[in-house]
Every structure is written in C-alpha cells, then in structure tokens.
C-alpha cells in the first residue's frame, strides 16, 4: 500500500505545484492583457476625442500654407518653433494640425466604409441565407466568388481608373470591397437561424417575412457582425491610407495620414518628421483597434473563451 501511495502523493504534489505555477502565470498574463487593453482603450479614446475636437484644439488651419516657414523641424529640435510643435511640411503647413485632421478623416473613412460594406453585406447575407434556394441568393454567392478572385488593390485601381479618385469613391470602393466578408458570415448564421423554432413560432404567429427578418433574424445574426466590424475598421483605415498613399484615395491638399506619408516620402532625409509622425500615429491607431478587437472577439466567441 505504502509503496503505492508514495509516488501517488508525489505526483499529486508535483501536479498541484505545476498547477499553481500555471495559475500564477495565467494571472500575470491576465494582468498584462488588462494593462494592454486599458492602454489601447485610453489611446483610442484620446484619438477619437482629439479628432472630434480638432478645430478647437489647434491654432493653425490644415490647409494654410506659409512658405516662409516651410520644413520647420519639431519644436524641441534646433531651429524648431513651439508654434509648430511637430514641424511643418514643404509648403509650411503645420504637421500637428494636419495630423489631427488626418486622423479625423481616417476614422471617418474607416467607419463610413465599414457601414457601407456592412449594410450591403448583412442585407445580402440575410436574404441569401433566408431564401437559400432562390436565384437571387445564388447570384450573391457567385458575385462574391468572382470578387474574391480579384485582388483588392487591382479592383480598387480599376474602379478608381474608371470613376476617378475622391473621398466618396474611396468609401464606396472600401465598402464594396469588403461586403462579401459580412455576406459570408451572416449567410452562414442565417442558414442556422432559419431552422430555429422561434422562426417557426414567428411564422405561426402570422408574422410577415420582412417582420421575421428584421426582428428575429437580424438581431440573432449580429454578434459575428460586431466582430467583423472591429476587425475591419482598422483594416479599412489601413487600406484607405494605402490607397491615398498610391494617389487613389483622398486627394491633396486635404490632410490624410496615408497621403501625408506619401508627400513626406521624398523629403525623408531633410524632414524625417513628415513621414515618421503620421506613420507612427497610423500604426498606433491600428494596433490599438486590433487589440481591442481581439479582446472583443474572445469575449463574444465562446469557442475561444474555453482556452482561458
């Protein structure tokens, strides 16, 4: 008996010790995650607030060129002036002011594009999922397949070449370029939901199809949509910046982060601040949004939550 208990208790002790170690490690990891989350959320809150209040924060106009003050370095460097805290660009416009307005525009583009793609994708997904057999539903799927076969940038180039670059077209391109992701996910959800007995019950209450779609199907398929939105706002902000960088998005003289990086690119040796500050800000915003998005996805997706 004793012979058997000894190794048993030994393993048990080892097990508890290792469990304890694991728990401690997990707790530390959780603390780190929490700190990252708070930082991300705080950073984003500041960014949103600042971009909303941009006109009241800065004392310059983003489009006001003063050639006398061109290529001024940031305030803390030799030759810099605190009137232009982050320096000026090649036409003497205040970089800080332009970044404020640039962020404002980027956020606006991100949200508008997600709204545009989301509305198209969710509507198509719900219709296709609910009326699966109908020809229209099959049509959505084929269009999505064809679109997915074309690289996004190529598609964007083609569209811009035909309808011309502008703020409105940028939002349209990004929205239309991303609708299929909502479509796919929502259609899958709806295929599942339409077999639920609360849908039968609603039909048995004599509700119209439109009523069922709006009040039962839509709310029940919405959780994954929230997750895609959190993934796509930063992704589309990135894309918008990339397209503007390539000259396909927002047009000068408007202030937009991607466009500003592009404009500063040629001067990177004389005026590094023109590319570094907008670039860092863009990276920071996208990083913070992705962090929050990941956290949200883990909260909303029960299959990921088990891991903790």
């Amino acid at each position: 008996m004793k012979v058997r208990t000894r190794p048993d208790s030994g393993t048990a002790e080892a097990a508890t010790a290792s469990t304890r170690r694991l728990t401690r490690a997990a707790a530390a990891a959780r603390r780190r995650t929490r700190a990252t989350l708070i930082m991300s959320a705080g950073f984003l809150a500041v960014i949103v607030l600042v971009s909303v209040l941009a006109p009241w924060i800065t004392w310059h106009d983003p489009l006001d060129a003063e050639l006398v003050n061109r290529l001024q370095p940031p305030g803390w460097l030799d030759g810099g002036s605190w009137s232009y805290p982050l320096g000026t660009d090649s036409t003497g416009r205040d970089l800080f002011t332009r970044m404020l307005f640039g962020v404002r525009l980027s956020l606006l583009i991100g949200l508008a594009a997600v709204a545009c793609g989301g509305i198209i994708g969710v509507t198509a997904g719900i219709l296709a999922g609910y009326y699966d057999e109908k020809i229209a539903a099959v049509g959505f799927g084929r269009v999505a397949d064809i679109q997915q076969a074309i690289p996004f940038v190529v598609l964007a180039l083609a569209v811009v070449a035909s309808i011309g670059p502008s703020f409105r077209n940028l939002i349209l391109i990004l929205g239309v370029g991303s609708w299929l992701f909502y479509y796919r996910i929502v259609r899958g959800e709806v295929l599942k939901i339409r077999e639920e007995s609360y849908i039968d019950a609603a039909k048995a209450m004599g509700k119209s199809d439109a009523g069922i779609l709006i009040s039962h199907v839509l709310p029940n398929s919405f959780a994954p949509v929230i997750v895609i939105v959190t993934l796509f706002v930063p992704r589309l902000i990135m894309f918008a910046a990339a397209l503007s960088f390539l000259g396909l998005g927002v047009q000068p003289p408007r202030a937009e982060l991607g466009l500003m990086i592009s404009e500063g690119r040629g001067l990177i040796q004389q005026a590094w601040w023109l590319t570094v500050f907008p670039g860092a800000l863009l990276a920071g915003i996208v990083l913070a949004m992705n962090t929050l998005g990941d956290w949200l996805r883990e909260r909303l997706d029960p299959t990921l939550r088990v891991r903790q």
């Binding site: 609360y198 019950a201 709310p219």
Partner: protein, 333 residues
C-alpha cells in the same frame, strides 16, 4: 365520413382529404395521405402517432407553415370557422395565424427568440396585428402572464428567455399564443420537452384556458396516456393515415385497431403490466408496403391485408377504424 363532433357545438376547423407530400432529393415523400380532421369549439382533439406518422406534417402543412417549394399540400375541403380556404396557402392564412389560430411548439427552450425580451414577444400580436395602443398592450401582456400562472409578470415581461425556467418558458409561450384569444389552438407536443410534473401543470393550464374561452384544441402527441385524461376525441395516425378515431373513452377502453392496441400496450404502467414494444419499425413513406401499411408489424395480418388497403369501418363501440378486422361487426362508411 366526417367524424362526429362530440360536443355538437359549432365546428372551428373542418378538413377533408388532406394530403401533404414533401419534395426530397430522392423523390416525392407522401407524408400525409388523406386525413380528415374536425375540431369543434371548446373541444379537444388529440392526434396521436409515432414519429414520422404524419401528425405534425398534417397540421403544419395545412396551415401553410412549410415552404411551398418543399411541400405540396392539398385538401378537398379546408374550412376554418365560416371561411372556406385553400389548405396550405400561407397568403390565405397569414391574417388568421396568431390572431384566430395559435400554435404552441414542442420545445419551449427555442421557440422564444433569445434576443428579445419575453414581454415584447408576447406583445407582438396585440401591438402589430390588433393595433392596440401601448398602454393597453402592456396591461394585456401582464394580464396574460398572470393568467398562465406566472407569479411576477412584471419581472417576467422584462426578462430574456434564458432567464426563465423551462416551465416558465412554456407558460410564456402559451401566453404569447393565447393573448389574442384564438378560436383554435394547435399544440404540437407541447409537453414533450418538460418533465412529468410540469407536463401535468401545462395540460391543466391549457384545460383551464379552454374552459374559460371555448377554444378548440388540436393536440399533437405521441403519448396516448396523456391524451386519455384530456382529450374529447382521439385520432390515431399511422403512416400518413388515420387508422382509428373516435371518442377518447371508446378508443382508450376498446382499442380496436391492432396498432392502437399495440400502442397502448407499449406504454409502461404503474400496475406492473408487461410493456410490449411494437415490433419492427414504421414503414418508410417512400416505400410503403402494399395493402395495409401496418400489416408488416401486425399480428392479425392475413392475405387480404397484403392485397387491398382496408377501408374505414364504423364499429358499434362508436369509433371508426381502418382495418379489415372491423368488417365483422362494423359497417363500412
């Protein structure tokens, strides 16, 4: 050969020659092959049968709840209250569903929308269909919750379905269906998902509501013992046809179709009687045996059963059966 209405009062529902066929990949599946149903005001009719006997298919089919692409529904006659309608046409029935015809489904866990507060779901019919104002609707919702025996209607109305227990959910479902005062209530195995004590409570509740309002109830179940205390008339379905039908007393005390007898013997009893399962399996509706569909499982089957599907006979004890055994002392009808 319309079955008699036991109560003699006005008929709420009268269906003759109902057929429902599903379009499947493997071909057309005849799930219901000529069924007559009548329900009188204040009467309870039970539709009993095994899974796949076509009991739910007949009811959901005639109310147009199957997708028209997947099921073909026909009936010689389909009369609801005083209206002659065509069976299975959702457009015809849309206005009646929810207001004049209520349906309770099997699974209370999932027949309430998880994203909508219970009170809002109950309020849908009075708000959207009856067009009542907000305050009246609110009062009606709370009243109907109280009526189905929910102790704290205010709380229940503002709760989400997952916050309620199974019994409460089924009660809420009943409140949803009964709030408009339908003249016909269809209960599709409403107690199957509940435990036995709750079953009795739900049945009592339905009986009480029926007594107060004179609702006709069409009760779909596989549990013949449940039916014997509650139903006025019983119809036993097998392979898409009604094999025995009549007053509950006659059917339960003098079961005459071999299938009904076998069904009653397969129910466990407290007095220790032997449980005798029915041998074999229900036939595949795509590949029914010739003649009587039950003959492959029947102890009384003989040659004639194989050749000709039996007509319906009315027995002296009052019920009708679809079996050659009825030929001796019954008369064809």
């Amino acid at each position: 050969m319309a079955p008699d209405t036991a109560t003699g009062s006005s008929q709420v529902l009268a269906v003759e020659g109902l057929t429902v066929s599903f379009r499947a990949v493997a071909g057309v599946v005849p799930a219901v092959r000529g069924v007559d149903v009548t329900v009188g005001a204040g009467e309870t009719v039970a539709l009993v049968g095994e899974s796949g006997s076509g009991k739910s298919a007949s009811v959901l089919g005639m109310l147009g709840l199957f997708h028209p692409d997947s099921a073909a529904v026909e009936a010689e006659r389909f009369k609801f209250e005083d209206m002659e309608l065509s069976a299975g046409r959702r457009e015809d029935l849309q206005d009646l569903l929810g207001t004049r015809i209520g349906i309770i489904f099997q699974d209370p866990q999932s027949s309430l929308d998880p994203t909508m507060k219970v009170g809002k779901q109950i309020a849908e019919v009075p708000r959207l269909r009856l067009g009542l104002d907000r305050e009246t609707v609110r009062r009606k919702v709370l009243d109907s919750l109280a009526e189905v025996g929910i102790r704290d209607p205010e709380w229940c109305a503002s709760a989400y379905p997952h916050e309620l227990s199974g019994g409460m959910r089924q009660r809420a479902m009943i409140a949803t269906v009964m709030i408009a005062g339908p003249s016909l209530l269809i209960a599709d195995e409403p107690t199957t998902a509940l435990d036995v004590t709750l079953q009795a409570q739900v049945i009592d509740l339905l009986a009480t509501l029926q007594e107060e309002r004179g609702t006709g109830i069409l009760f779909i179940t596989h549990d013949l013992s449940l039916v014997s205390e509650f139903a006025d008339r019983v119809m036993v379905m097998y392979a898409g046809t009604v094999v025995e039908s009549g007053d509950t007393e006659a059917v339960v005390n003098h079961p005459s179709h071999p299938y009904t007898r076998a069904l009653l013997e397969s129910v466990p009893r407290l007095d220790g009687g032997q449980v005798r399962p029915i041998r074999g399996r229900p036939p595949d509706p795509r590949d029914l045996p010739s003649g009587c569909p039950f003959r492959t499982r029947c102890d009384h089957a003989h040659e004639r059963c194989e050749q000709v599907e039996p007509p319906t006979f009315r027995l002296p004890s009052g019920q009708t059966i679809r079996c050659w055994l009825g030929e001796q002392d019954g008369e064809p009808c």
